[in-house]
Chain length 546, copies 2
Amino acid sequence: MGEAQVSLKHLFRVFTKPEHKDSKLAQIEQHLSDNIMDFLSQHVVTKKTSLEEIEQDFSLPAVPESPEFVSSHAESLLEKLVAHSVNTYSPTFIGHMTSALPYFHLPLSKLLVGLNQNLVKIETSKAFTPLERQVLGMMHNLIYDRDEPFYEEYLHSARHALGAFCSGGTIANITALWVARNKLLGPQPGFSGVARAGLAAAYRHYDIGNLGVICSKRGHYSLSKAVDALGLGREQLLSLPCPAQTLNPEDALREGRRYQEAGNKVLAIVGIGGTTETGHVDPLDELADVAKELGCWFHVDAAWGGATLFSSNNRSKLNGIAKADSVTIDAHKQMYVPMGAGMAIFKDPEDANAVRHHAQYILREGSKDLGATTLEGSRNGMAMMVYSTLHILGRRGYELIIDQNIEKAQSFASMIDAHEDFALTTTPTLSLLTYRVCPPQVQKALSVAGDADKVRLNQKVDRLVVGVQKAQREAGKSFVSRTRLECPNTNSQAITVFRVVLANPLTTKTDLQNILAEQVELAKGMRIWKELIKLADQVSHTSASV
Amino acid sequence: MGEAQVSLKHLFRVFTKPEHKDSKLAQIEQHLSDNIMDFLSQHVVTKKTSLEEIEQDFSLPAVPESPEFVSSHAESLLEKLVAHSVNTYSPTFIGHMTSALPYFHLPLSKLLVGLNQNLVKIETSKAFTPLERQVLGMMHNLIYDRDEPFYEEYLHSARHALGAFCSGGTIANITALWVARNKLLGPQPGFSGVARAGLAAAYRHYDIGNLGVICSKRGHYSLSKAVDALGLGREQLLSLPCPAQTLNPEDALREGRRYQEAGNKVLAIVGIGGTTETGHVDPLDELADVAKELGCWFHVDAAWGGATLFSSNNRSKLNGIAKADSVTIDAHKQMYVPMGAGMAIFKDPEDANAVRHHAQYILREGSKDLGATTLEGSRNGMAMMVYSTLHILGRRGYELIIDQNIEKAQSFASMIDAHEDFALTTTPTLSLLTYRVCPPQVQKALSVAGDADKVRLNQKVDRLVVGVQKAQREAGKSFVSRTRLECPNTNSQAITVFRVVLANPLTTKTDLQNILAEQVELAKGMRIWKELIKLADQVSHTSASV
């Protein structure tokens, strides 16, 4: 490992002299530009390396004393980091919401870092501020479709905001509920409002026992972080059972009434526009009515599914979203932008004022500084990536991709349905589905078994699914994730299922067939497969003799 | 503007085919790589363009219907966005905390986006997880300097965290106070803790009227966001006057006692390790003792100044920081990493558990998924940029830069002091200072004037400073920022001052001389300059005759 000379001259070089064209880092860059798939398949090692082994390379706590040459550092990055990272571009990496990205993001990322704007204030971002406001306006328009005068008035208004650009969906959800909380418990004669006086004083002033948020059990973990951070408490996240994977409006109404009759107040109902685990969409239109009935905020977490609005063919799946007071959309999910681009969109441009902050040297009163109404302060110019992708793909481009994702999920569902060794556990509304590997004998036995036997069988299948998922991940050719779900036909028993996200445009039917074939092979090689068949035979026999 | 064909084939191209070497985007990229300063000075327009004019280019709220060719989009980015962005690399852009970055960040940013890892969980980040943990460990080590066994035990422990990587310092400060709040109001027999039961219930259980945070008036606006979001209320941010720019420990103790005797509880004292406005460092060692005395958390916001710890010569300026329960450091400030790299570091590896969250499909109990103890969920791999810079510069490299920044600020202060038309308002502790332009006659008059005349004179000088700052910004050659401060010799009157940050290694003494020369020229060309001299003469005359 080369030790670079420590001198001001040397240090000036890293600020003023580009990397030599033949340097290691320049080679890496060139390879990425020429063929990213090839770069990744050449450098990301697929053989099993345990996390503990990888940790060995990252275990020294001391800041390195002496400078290192850029090229030798680049070598070490390839060996230690790139080799053991995850190939998210791979068409067979279908377990999570990260996928291949359009090529133009590579050069754009350089422009982003080269400009290194700070969007907290205009003085360090200038044109990026109106650009970000336009991006938020476009998303607002996509959801709420207001008329031209509306956007003329509000898009660039210093006293309004159509949304908040965030590092991700979690901050977007927190921001939305923060706005809702501060608006509900706002200033009144004799009370300065929750933002100033705090939550305990607000509960006393408004005579509220507790403030709660209603969602289904499929609500994202960020909601739990939100009610904790905002001071409501996690026990006030009223997450209702949803064996059908969506929040039942009647259940929500009943729970909301019960809660409010007990001296509490429902802050918000959160409808999900594409659950993280199964891609289901809550009945947004009806939930909006329930929220109205309860007199509370209606937030839609469409971090995943929001991009469905680009598709004329599929946007009706989000019917009712325009009734939401706020909507979360992640551009780094189905908008194919690199990690770090969440957005909270507000129906009413006044609402963001509930969290407005000013300071002396920036965010001055009357300025258009974006940091005045965002939870974050200094932020980078990720909005440019969203802006560029909106232009380069266009609505029709997004439509094609979104439609294709949904069709791919549907055809994968058909494949699974047709395969005797698999059982589909949830069908795709958007581009997600869940299923499990399960010997046909077990599937048959489950259809006749009594409750106790069902539980026993399902628990064994759970172990099979976990085993296959881990083995497949470790083999390194493909990756599906897993989760635990209650399903309509498993009573209230949660079962472990494979979870796939069909978002990579490069994934083909053949890839999907291969993934299933590998899973069957892995499953049949496990001892538990035989144990399961034996148990199924016993159960079927007992049931038949009853 | 070219309209690209909407077809799956076209869309596949953007995911699978790199930009042609002669394309506009490739040219931009090449220019950036070859000479970023030249790229910026060629494309960033310096002539005055009003924000309203720029907004015209970003005013359409409709998502573009049809795809656009990448090259024509790149042209439009140059014209509309790059032309009107801020040249943060410029050696004469010394008004804020963004500066030139080392060259290697350009290719690294491509690697970051090419890998597009999601650090919320190991399944989508693998080696990035131990890498991020190591970076947090290095910063922990830099602050707390614990022994080897400590880091062996905790650096990669699934049940501990040495810190939280964040999008920026605001989230880091919020995270630190969130941890402090949840730890203080933790579970007890008969009470499930604030995280579960909420803040109002916690106040009742612990018999607390209000929970407050003590800091100086120079506390960053993020603290105000934090106490709002966390439910304490902005009125409970007890920001104490600090004419000397630092928090007086005796004042803090007195205020803390008064507050607690009134039935409240001090959650935390926040000491500042380099204020955003003047770069002053609070007396951390003594404030740590006050926090102990009050029985509260001690947080140090060293977003700016934390990097001073790299310098053996200057690290004593942060004496006492090792007594902090938590510390915020922004790598995108004096660690020369692109925007988006904040960190909250915790002295006690157990503390992050106060905000630990789990979910079924990720962040499972016992996993090392980073998202379990961060406020954010999905996050990008910015930690790699910090890791690489730590290695490529090394501690000694950082030391040279930090020392140089401080020396540069000191020599700028001498320049200002020696110039008859300027008055230094705060001297540099770190690399920030403030000053104002002020005719010598006025400086003389201020030294003899009575209180009422002082106020009149200062108000007029304020207008001069604002005028010069705006005119200089609009002229586009250089940029200093401005703020309002109380200073020891202005009683409690706040005055407007220029604020400069000497963090760009490319800034020379000549640049600084030129900035002063331009300011004098601008000031003397303003009508208010003459008015001021006239008023000063009157005041001096009156004072002399009294």
